[in-house]
């Protein structure tokens, strides 16, 4: 990540792509930070949910390399609080989808030890596979 941002057609295209997939208008984000402040996972994230919104608005493709998009568990705590009625979880999902559609998975079921696999309930496995792999 660098200190310098250049805004050009490429960044615009990326912003539009994510917005189309998510249905969210990131320019509406006030950067108030309500989402980040209440996110139960924020301590585990490398960038905050509000930062995620910012990066998408500015079309910064490096957002795709952030952990945050794989950590957001669509708990919707932020969704019900955003003063602009934006949904960060939809942005995170759109970003995951961009990766997954490139066949870059975050979870490979084969990596999980047999005993772990055995004790996990279906509901956890299906959800994880749906969200973290393609």
């Amino acid at each position: 990540m660098t200190k310098k941002i250049v805004l050009n057609e490429k960044t615009l295209a990326f912003q539009k792509k994510v917005e189309e997939l998510s249905g969210e208008n990131t320019a509406m984000c006030d950067q108030c930070g309500t989402c980040s402040g209440g996110c139960p996972f924020v301590e585990e994230m490398d960038i905050t949910p509000a930062q995620l919104m910012r990066k998408v608005m500015l079309g910064q493709e490096d957002v795709l390399e952030c952990d945050t998009l794989w950590i957001c568990a669509t708990c919707n705590t932020c969704t019900v609080r955003c003063p602009r009625k934006l949904d960060v979880s939809k942005i995170a999902e759109a970003l995951r989808q961009i990766k997954l559609r490139d066949e870059i998975n975050n979870l490979d079921i084969n990596d999980l030890p047999k005993n772990v696999l055995k004790e996990l309930p279906q509901i956890a496995l299906i959800a994880a596979l749906r969200k973290l792999s393609s």
Binding site: T74, N76, V80, Q97, I123, A124, I126, A127, A128, R130
Partner: protein
């Protein structure tokens, strides 16, 4: 009342005691669960991207089954569809909402399923068992209580999917009360605690076990600190994270004091005086029996 019932992936296996206690308590109240024939998994989580219509097919197919049951008069509830698991409810409701709001997408989905005789029209109303109980009347349930849970301090755990996002939640997203009202009807004392709406970590339990253990550790500690005897939930995944993960917590922290996590329907069944052997506690990792015996059953 005969209501179409959608079990979902975990209720037959991991969360069988949830299903059994719910069905048994329903029967006692005159609510007959009629399992939807040929139901299929809802997909657990909803697809949120605008172009991904395919994943809404599974939920909608289940709703077609409900319409068929109605046509065949196997059930007598107007358009209702009962779920037990919060995640199923959430996913089904979100797909349903999409169908209700976007006629074009509904048409595409119907076209996909050209082999179905019954077309979907958005008319099904997905409901959680708690909502059905509320409709039935908590006051009426209170009258039917045979074993009062008086003296039992219960921390109701809403988690996420039951109340968020607002358009599918069954209660206020910030100040829900349905669990509290339910508990009061059974004579139990609901505990007010800040973690009742805090995410348990959900499916990250598969690949980010540490995050989940940290989170659930905090949640459980909060319940304890507020004097809860036990926690209730409405979701097999929350149950797994809060209940089964206590094993790891114990390993990491020898001072950790386990706390039982039950499905709300198990408490309901006990309060209605049903035979424990009939609905079972086979899935609960932290044994709640000693506590229940001590506080309720042997009184």
């Amino acid at each position: 009342m005969k209501i179409p019932y959608f079990p979902g992936c975990s209720l037959k296996t991991y969360a069988s005691s949830f299903e059994k206690s719910a069905i048994a308590s329903g029967a006692e109240l005159g609510i007959e669960f009629v399992e939807i024939p040929r139901w299929n998994c809802c997909g657990v989580v909803s697809s949120l991207t605008s172009d991904d219509l395919m994943h809404h097919l599974a939920p909608v197919r289940n709703m077609i089954r409900v319409l068929e049951m109605q046509n065949d008069k196997i059930v007598d509830t107007d358009n209702k569809m009962l779920t037990l698991c919060s995640m199923c409810m959430n996913t089904l409701k979100r797909s349903n909402l999409k169908m209700q709001e976007h006629a074009d997408e509904l048409e595409t989905i119907n076209d996909f399923m050209y082999k179905e005789d019954q077309k979907y029209d958005g008319s099904v109303q997905v409901m959680h068992y708690l909502e059905i109980l509320k409709e039935y009347g908590f006051a009426k349930i209170a009258e039917k209580v045979k074993v009062s849970l008086k003296g039992l301090k219960v921390a109701p755990y809403y988690g996420c999917m039951l109340i968020r996002p607002k358009e599918v939640g069954i209660d206020d997203a910030e100040e829900p009360t349905i669990f509290e009202d339910f508990l009061k009807a059974l004579g139990a004392e609901p505990v007010d605690w800040r973690s009742k709406k805090t995410c348990c970590g959900s499916y990250l339990t598969v690949n980010k076990e540490n995050i989940v253990v940290k989170l659930t550790g905090k949640i459980l500690e909060d319940a304890r600190r507020n004097g809860a005897d036990l926690i209730i939930t409405s979701c097999p995944l929350c149950a797994f994270n809060l209940d089964s993960r206590q094993e790891l917590l114990q390993i990491r922290n020898p001072n950790f004091e386990p706390i039982p996590v039950l499905y709300f329907s198990q408490l309901l069944a006990i309060a209605l005086g049903l035979d424990i052997n009939k609905f079972g506690f086979e899935n609960n990792k932290v044994d709640g029996m000693p506590l229940l015996k001590n506080k309720i059953l042997n009184k």
